[in-house]
């Protein structure tokens, strides 16, 4: 599944980018976001080698895959909350944080693409309890 490898490598790169950018922030929402992001990055590092064996990704990589997706839902929520906080506090970091939103949206888009690939290959029943519904193709 070279396509999946490409997607998850890109996600890993995005995670690094976001971590570097907000790494010093000390607001509780940013800390939460970072904690989840670091977990996501760690899970991606576990997942990537397993993608080489495409036949077993939903067994050997099931847990990592699931965590990556669920972490993304949280990162999105915490990041958007933090963004509101930055606006309200007129924080000079705001423009940079707003640029990161594009990266997050790209991550989400790639995860949706990966969900579609996984469903096509393994079927809906195999991914139903692994991938959150909001990443699944719209017909669900």
């Amino acid at each position: 599944m070279a396509e999946l490898t490409i997607i998850f490598e890109a996600l890993w790169a995005n995670a690094i980018k976001i971590e570097r950018t907000i790494g010093e922030a000390d607001n509780p929402l940013a800390k939460l976001c970072l904690t989840v992001l670091r977990e996501q990055k760690q899970q991606l590092e576990r997942l990537l080698p397993k993608l080489a064996d495409e036949g077993s990704i939903l067994t050997s990589g099931k847990q990592a895959l699931s965590i990556v997706y669920h972490d993304d839902e949280l990162i999105d929520s915490y990041f958007r909350s933090w963004l509101r906080h930055l606006k309200w506090s007129e924080d000079p970091f705001l423009p940079e944080a707003e640029r990161l939103l594009t990266v997050l949206e790209e991550t989400k888009s790639r995860l949706t693409e990966a969900a579609s690939l996984l469903e096509d290959r393994y079927g809906y029943d195999a991914v139903k309890y692994v991938i959150p519904a909001f990443y699944m193709p719209i017909h669900h």
Binding site: E39, Q63, D71, S77, S81, H85, W88, P132
Partner: protein, 808 residues
């Protein structure tokens, strides 16, 4: 029971004898008082408490006594309304309104997929409504977007119970409150939010000296005034307080080691998380003197009977679920659960919000089933006779996440049932903007503030006009008989939902209608089968039995035909992987654990002690916004006053909002009592009179959230930040930042002016003029000097409601 006598509170207004009394339950707070509704000429004309009901023995709170006025209000909605092409709401027939809703639902599903239709319901409906919403939502619409205003009210109760005990259902009950030696009311202003239960506590205390009452609250509330020990902590520091207390109790060796060993997991990690919270650090973080912390640790560490209750001061604060888990941890390490007089009693705010959680109208699947567990979904598929693959898996979306999805264009229809989010949700400017972008259905007896964004309005029946059951805060299922028919043109929530299901032609896998029942009682019978064998088993309940016994606490089964006063008496918790309602979440980040992560924990029927890492409120006072803002309830009103403002009595007592301001802060700002001030936050502003005193600590402003009319500028939720707890997703209404500004005219003194003539001109007292300008009485007037003139002043002194003081 604690009550030693009955006292039948009654409020009836009619001429001549009434026709009949109809069995019911109070529909205001979560205490669950039994009552009878007075009916004359097919009209509700009053209420009286049910003397035989064990919860209240005839007593009613002030809102309960006056709730029936709303039924007869002349501004009841009597026909559906549909917004026309020019943006006006105009009357429509039920067929027109329902056809439009069905058409919009189908269009949305076709365009945006299953997770594009949201149902946002209430904690004030009936169990049967919620079960039907759950079934329609999951098996009909296949949506994850089922939420309710219970998210603002009791979501944290659910999530802290899932974390610690594997399933929802508060372990202790009011019976335990009656038997405990120490009662800790944590962020729980019981004197104003549950007056009858508070009276019950104080009556026993007067009679026996028990319980020793610890109240944790940043405000000096009427509840705190009755406390033996009031821990008046800084806002947002519940976890530093609890971590500090747990550490002190552990260091003093006052833990039940055998209990911890046999019935819990996770002790070492929990202990490590509190290790940094020395008494000194806890005292500094919370502002509570060390001696008071020691007194609390002593009381909590020595007692053999402890009940801890929680409410919005805990649930609506930063770290809400972690604080409640902290409380569960405290009970577990002391072995104070599952026996008389012991246990956490995490409350609910509304009269039936617990029922919504129990039957799956919000959150997880019905009867405490885990949406991540395929076996639980297979059970539900069998019970509902649908294919398992159509039932959505995975965690639900709370209202704040739903708003975010609406902003991203992913939701097409938002169906609002029995709640008023444009007053009750935080940061309402954002909420209004979001809801303006979707098709909104509002189902309510009145034209609420939320009608401003409605595309269709459905007039719904009120309490007394429909039959059903409710679940209160201590797992009691109570019955409400129908006293009168709804006004012509009005339908019950239940009937509206059934009509929607019929029109949508929802069917099971054999082609039969998905909703096969046609009355609330028939619905309850189906629900009983769904609940069988689960923690909330209600298979032993019938409507008649509920009336005969005046409510029953679940589980009610063949083995426990009269219900269960407390959970976990056998010390078997619902944490077996295939039994648990949740695989739990990471206690800090809120990330749902996978099935294998949960299995690795091996709780296997033991309770789970979680680490309780502190995360402070995201928004805190700054140089620009130097005050804490907290919001809350008054004893005289309920939520957004949709019902209570229609009681002439309640509305006359508390007609307007105000801001409680500490007297030192008022002095520093030279504010006058009742003076109109502007309170601003980064999100908006309100203008309300200042209520100066010592109820709030220095640096804190309190504003009641009941007042949200678009006509004025009194809505507390113009100010609040919309951050949520990581686990329960409950908004943190209790901690935002704000500032106070005086609103004053200026008057340039002339040579002819004296201070008295200026005071007379503006019709204020000379003393007030002097105080507002920090002048002495002998101040020499200088022409050209500018004086500040307070723009207006109001009497903001509310009468106290404390009937128990007459008795004790």
């Amino acid at each position: 029971m604690s009550w030693i006598d009955e006292r039948v509170d009654m409020n009836v207004y009619t001429q001549g004898d009434i026709d009949r009394w109809v069995y019911s339950t109070c529909n205001i707070c979560s205490v669950g008082c039994g009552c009878h509704i007075a009916v004359k000429d097919n009209k509700i004309v009053g209420i009286r408490g049910n003397a035989a009901h064990p919860i209240n023995r005839g007593r009613l709170g002030p809102k309960g006594e006056n709730q029936w006025y709303a039924n007869n209000s002349t501004d009841r909605l009597l026909t559906p309304l549909v917004r026309n092409a020019s943006g006006e709401l105009e009357p429509a027939t039920w067929d027109e309104a329902m056809s439009l809703i069905v058409r919009k639902t189908k269009e949305t599903l076709a365009q945006k997929g299953a997770n594009s239709v949201a149902i946002y319901s209430t904690g004030q409906g009936h169990l049967e409504d919620y079960y039907t919403i759950g079934k329609i939502g999951r098996a009909g619409l296949h949506t994850h977007l089922l939420d309710a205003n219970t998210r603002l009210c009791t979501a944290t109760t659910e999530f802290c119970l899932l974390q610690s005990f594997g399933a929802d259902g508060t372990p202790a009950s009011y019976d335990d409150v009656d038997e405990t030696d120490v009662l800790m009311l944590f962020g729980h202003n019981l004197a104003e939010t549950g007056t009858v239960l508070f009276e019950r506590v104080l009556q026993r205390k007067k009679r026996t000296g028990k319980p020793y009452l610890i109240v944790v609250d940043p405000r000096l509330t009427p509840t705190a005034k009755e406390a033996d020990l009031h821990l008046q902590l800084y806002p947002g520091t519940n976890v530093p307080l609890l971590n500090g207390l747990i550490r002190m109790i552990v260091k003093a060796g006052r833990i039940d080691e055998a209990f911890i060993r046999n019935y819990t997991i996770g002790y070492d990690a929990m202990l490590a998380s509190v290790e940094e919270w020395t008494p000194e650090k806890s005292a500094e973080a919370t502002g509570i003197p060390l001696a008071q912390l020691e007194a609390a640790a002593e009381a909590l560490g020595q007692t053999s009977r402890l009940v801890t209750t929680t409410l919005q001061g805990t649930f609506q604060s930063a770290d809400a679920t972690t604080a409640c888990v902290d409380i569960n941890n405290l009970h577990l390490i002391r072995g104070l659960i599952g026996k008389p007089g012991c246990g956490p009693l995490h409350m609910a705010g509304q009269p039936s919000s617990s029922a919504n959680r129990t039957v799956g109208g919000v959150g997880t699947y019905p009867a405490h089933r885990n949406p991540q567990n395929p076996k639980h979904l297979q059970e539900m598929a069998r019970l509902w006779n649908v294919e398992e693959r159509v039932l959505p898996a995975g965690p639900e979306k709370g209202i704040e996440d739903q708003l975010s999805l609406i902003e991203q264009g992913k939701v097409g229809l938002f169906w609002n049932i029995g709640t008023n989010p444009l007053v009750s949700l935080p940061n309402r400017t954002r909420v209004k903007k979001a809801l303006e972008s979707v098709f909104v259905v509002v189902q309510d007896p009145f034209l609420t503030e939320t009608a401003a964004v409605a595309d269709v309005i459905l007039p719904a029946a009120l309490w007394g006009e429909k039959e059903g059951t409710m679940e209160n805060a201590d797992r009691t299922i109570n019955l409400l008989r129908k006293a009168v028919d709804p006004p012509e043109g009005v339908r019950s929530d239940f009937d509206i939902l059934l009509d929607f299901a019929r029109r949508m032609d929802f069917r099971d896998k054999d082609g039969r209608p998905l909703i096969g029942y046609d009355s609330p009682e028939a619905c309850f019978e189906e629900w009983k089968a769904v609940s069988r064998g689960r923690p909330c088993d209600m298979s032993g309940i019938t409507y008649d039995k509920l009336e005969r016994h005046n409510g029953l606490r679940w589980p009610v089964t063949e083995e426990a035909p009269l219900g269960t006063p407390r959970l976990y008496a056998d010390l078997r918790f619902r944490t077996e992987a295939d039994d648990a309602q949740s695989y739990t979440k990471d206690q800090f980040t809120g990330r749902p654990l996978t099935a294998s992560e949960y299995a690795e924990l091996k709780p296997d029927g033991r309770a789970i002690l979680h680490p309780t890492r502190y995360s402070p409120p995201p928004e805190q006072p700054t140089a620009s916004y130097p005050f804490w803002l907290t919001t809350g309830r008054l004893v005289w009103h309920w939520h957004t006053r949709t019902k209570t403002a229609r009681s002439p009595y309640l509305q006359a007592i508390a007609p307007n909002a105000y801001a409680e301001i500490n007297e030192e802060d008022a002095e520093a700002l030279s504010l006058l009592p009742g003076e109109l001030v502007r309170i601003s936050s980064p999100r908006g502003w309100i203008e309300v009179p200042a209520n100066i005193g010592n109820a709030v600590q220095k640096g804190l402003i309190f504003v009641p959230f009941h007042y949200g009319s678009w006509d004025g500028h009194q809505a507390a939720n113009e100010l609040t930040a919309d951050f949520v707890d990581p686990l329960s997703k409950q908004p943190t209404f209790k901690q935002s930042a704000c500032k106070i500004e005086k609103i004053r005219h200026s008057h340039a003194l002339t040579r002819e002016d004296t201070l008295q003539t200026v005071a007379d001109h503006y019709r204020i007292r000379l003393d007030d003029l002097l105080k507002a300008n920090r002048l002495k009485a002998d101040h020499a007037v200088q022409a050209g000097q500018t004086l500040e003139i307070p723009i207006s002043a109001a009497n903001v002194t509310l009468p106290a409601y404390r009937p128990y003081l007459k008795q004790v």
